[in-house]
């Protein structure tokens, strides 16, 4: 008789630890891969699984191996059809697929695997230097709120529903004819009265019978519990997603020649971060891309990031375009409006006044949050980082910032500088946040 062990219920994910170790090891390379994928992919795609290829560096497992293109050896193969000794066959191209060549290790290092959403976000967050709370916030899928939903036979003791439980217990006691306390008392009473009276044979017999009856009743009471585990009912709670509303996110970017590859990459990360945040908070998130030079237009994501346009820089055109789109498609009663603007700060001098006016009078009333980043050269950041003077747009926006608490701006030179623009956004308590929402 063999011994049987059923291992199917053993804890799963035994290899999870190994996977984590592997990812940690390949971290740098995976981070680069994810960054490239984010650079070329869509903003909304960041928040999903990503297939990546096996990183070459750091994951090799070297050992002493024979070089395949050296020396002489013999291969024994089955299935000869027409070869005779002495036949010469040309070798197939490089590598020679014949024989049991030790090529397996190479193919094993060359495959793609899938990183989960969490792992992708971890890699993405890494050099944004987000606070842990925020990371958690962004990774959490949906906010749930427990809601009463009937009763259950299992649950935690704190959730016992006493009314239900007692009703069940009562029903069961009736069904099983559990003797009531009064019945027991009555018999006991009768015995007592009989015993008090003078005794005769008939009465003694009667007492014995009564005592037996009393004992039977007591036994039955003991056997049928007052409250049995089967009676117990618990309040059941269903996790209900917290109702969310719609959000639209406007990405505004200056695409004039002065915005290079690095600037656009930083801007994209800035947009991705806001998008991640909105996706967590709202059921439906739409993204509108508006690029501008001296004139603004709504474009698709592809054009937004990859086409350059020549021309001057008039920021107010973008704000006007945005305002027009809001009026047309995203009435602020129904939509939570978020704006993210990235620029290198260039603007026509006379236009800055117009921007201030537009923001103060129209746009800031409509939006939940307006985040502006000015992308600097790393060298410039040392000069401008601390001071308030700067480009004309920066000075203009500084004035706006004083008047509106939901307006945030920052100068960034590296990815780690992005987060402070959103600090206020992320710092908000969900409850407070909801009160600001409209419609839904």
């Amino acid at each position: 008789m063999p011994i049987f062990i059923d291992r199917r219920l053993n804890p799963k994910d035994k290899s999870l630890g190994n996977r984590q170790r592997f990812l940690r090891r390949a971290r740098e390379e995976l981070k680069r891969t994810i960054r490239d994928q984010i650079r070329t992919g869509k903003i909304a795609d960041v928040d999903a699984e990503h297939a990546v290829s096996m990183p070459a560096r750091g994951t090799g497992e070297p050992s002493f191996n024979d070089a395949r293109n050296s020396g002489s050896r013999q291969h024994v193969l089955p299935g000869n059809k027409h070869f005779a000794p002495g036949d010469r066959l040309p070798k197939p191209g490089q590598g020679g697929g014949m024989g049991s060549a030790p090529g397996r290790t190479e193919s094993e290092d060359d495959f793609r695997f899938v990183l989960s959403r969490e792992e992708v976000l971890d890699l993405f967050f890494e050099d944004l230097e987000l606070p842990d709370m925020v990371k958690l916030n962004l990774k959490e899928i949906l906010a749930f709120k427990p809601r009463r939903a009937g009763f259950a036979a299992t649950g935690s003791p704190t959730n016992i529903n006493v009314g239900r439980t007692m009703r069940n217990s009562h029903g069961r006691r009736i069904a099983l004819r559990r003797p009531k306390q009064e019945a027991v008392d009555a018999v006991a009473q009768e015995i007592a009265t009989l015993e008090a009276k003078p005794q005769n044979a008939e009465m003694r017999q009667r007492i014995v019978a009564l005592q037996e009856e009393l004992e039977r009743l007591e036994r039955r009471r003991k056997r049928i519990a007052f409250v049995d585990p089967v009676d117990i009912r618990f309040n059941r709670f269903d996790a209900q997603p917290v109702p969310n509303a719609n959000a639209v996110m406007f990405c505004l970017m200056d695409v004039s020649g002065s915005m290079g590859e690095r600037e656009k990459d930083l801007a994209k990360r800035f947009f991705v971060l806001l998008h991640l945040f909105l996706k967590r908070r709202y059921d439906r998130t739409e993204v509108v891309f508006i690029r501008h030079t001296h004139e603004a237009q709504e474009v698709d994501e592809e054009t937004f990031f990859y086409n350059t346009q020549s021309g001057g820089t008039v920021v107010s055109t973008a704000l006007e375009e945005m305002h027009r789109i809001v009026e047309q498609r995203y009435p602020s009663r129904e939509w939570n409006i978020y704006v993210a603007q990235a620029s290198d700060g260039d603007n026509f001098v006379t236009d800055s006044e117009r921007c201030i006016a537009l923001l103060d009078e129209q746009i800031m009333r409509l939006c939940q949050y307006f985040a502006y980043v000015e992308i600097l050269d790393e060298r410039e950041s040392h000069i401008f980082g601390a001071t308030d003077n700067g480009t004309s747009l920066w000075r203009a926006y500084s004035a706006v910032k004083l008047r509106w608490s939901n307006f945030q701006m920052s100068r960034i030179a590296t990815a780690a500088d992005i987060y402070p623009v959103f600090r206020q956004l992320f710092a908000r308590q969900p409850g407070y946040q909801k009160s600001g929402e409209r419609g839904g």
Binding site: F4, I5, L23, E61, P62, G71, S72, G79, G86
Partner: protein
Amino acid sequence: MASKSGLLFSGSDWDFRTLSRAYETIEAVATEELHLDVYPVQMEIISSEQMLDAYSSVGMPLMYRHWSFGKHYLYQELLYRKGGRGLAYELVINSNPCIVYLMEENTMALQALVTAHAALGHNHFFKNNYLFRQWTDAGAILSYLDFAKGYIARCEERHGVDAVEEILDAAHALMEQGVFRYHRPPKLSSEKQREGIRERLEYEERSYNDLWRTLPPSKDGTKVRETDTMTERKKSLKLPEENLLYFLEKNSLILEPWQREVIRIVRVIAQYFYPQRQTQVMNEGCATFVHYTLMNLLFDRGLIGEGAMLEILRNHSNVIFQPGFDDPRFSGINPYALGLDMMQDIQRISTAPTAEDRDWFPDIAGNGDWRQTLLDAWANHRDESFIRQYLSPTLIRKWRFFVLADAANDPHYEVASIHNERGYESVRAALAHSYDIGASRPDIQVVDVDLLGDRHLRLQHKVKDGIVLEGGSRDATLRHIRKLWGYEVSMVAVDAQTGATLHERSTSQIGE
């Protein structure tokens, strides 16, 4: 018996009672008809996910954690998801009791097949083959792995994952060179003994006092050291040494006790698998022969229904599928197919030999006792010697084997021999040679080290037939050795025939 029909099982569902009944019947038939002798069996039912887990940690039920297993898991999972590879129906561990993993998805017919294959075929082979009997310790391996897993986890806690990983990486790179090929490795010491050794080491660590180092060395002591010549040095270190991991574990000057223990763990596991790698064809052949014979016997006795038998045969023929070399599906010689064919051929030779067989195998041809002949072969051979001894001309013709000579500097392959009278011997020799692990892996040994001088570790690679090492992985591996050794490491490639030095590579040339 389960039902009136006398069948062991019907339908594809299984339960533990049916499994147990099937095992008992199959075991009884196996002992009676094939005279198999097996360890007691422990069957474990696992899910496909757990099978993937087991795959990625070198097929062992307990394994320490390492990133490379995570990588292998990803790879296996990918193959499985794409449907490129089915999972094995079973996995069997050479231990006492013999552990057989059965997948829960298997039908009852498959479970019966797997029981015959693994619980009897492999099990008999593990218990009786000389390599396993002499070289591995079936009773101790599981508790050793348990210890290894716990020990490495404790090391990670104490010294950090990175530090442990560094040692494991380096040790894994040398796994091939971490086995004793020619003398039997010491028996695994019991848990108690190991505990004692560790305690002593810990005591030494605790009570280490740097003051002792400042004492002047005794006069005569230093004199002895000065006369330390090269030959004496080699003798005292038992050089040359083929087992690089063993050498580093015992002699490296920079390793701490826990690092030595980690290397030892990797070495023990490598050694444990060494016999399995030498007996692939025999092990799988034996198991396949046993399951095929047993299933047919059960069918003949009316214990297995026709439907189940068809399912079994279908799986059987999948397992032994062998495409020709020019078939796109060809990926080398299938050990199941070759092993089964050779064993059935032995059966044929001993019962119905042809004149040719009498010529080639005078001592077994027509002896009538194929059972004993096979039992002897299973017990006393490894792949290389088994093929050298038993591959018959009949089989060479059936498989249409041919030998291709492949010289690196020649743009052509040359057909050296085929399945004809002149070719049989050389085909057999070439095939046997290709299964000789000792000969087909690079031969690398420690030849010299001056522990009191510059501590330069010298390795030697014997180059056979002009086959040198692949440069990139060689350098990376040397770097790993340097990590364990702490000082310069160099490797000389020496031609095995002429003894001429081909080239030399040292870690000082490689850089970090």
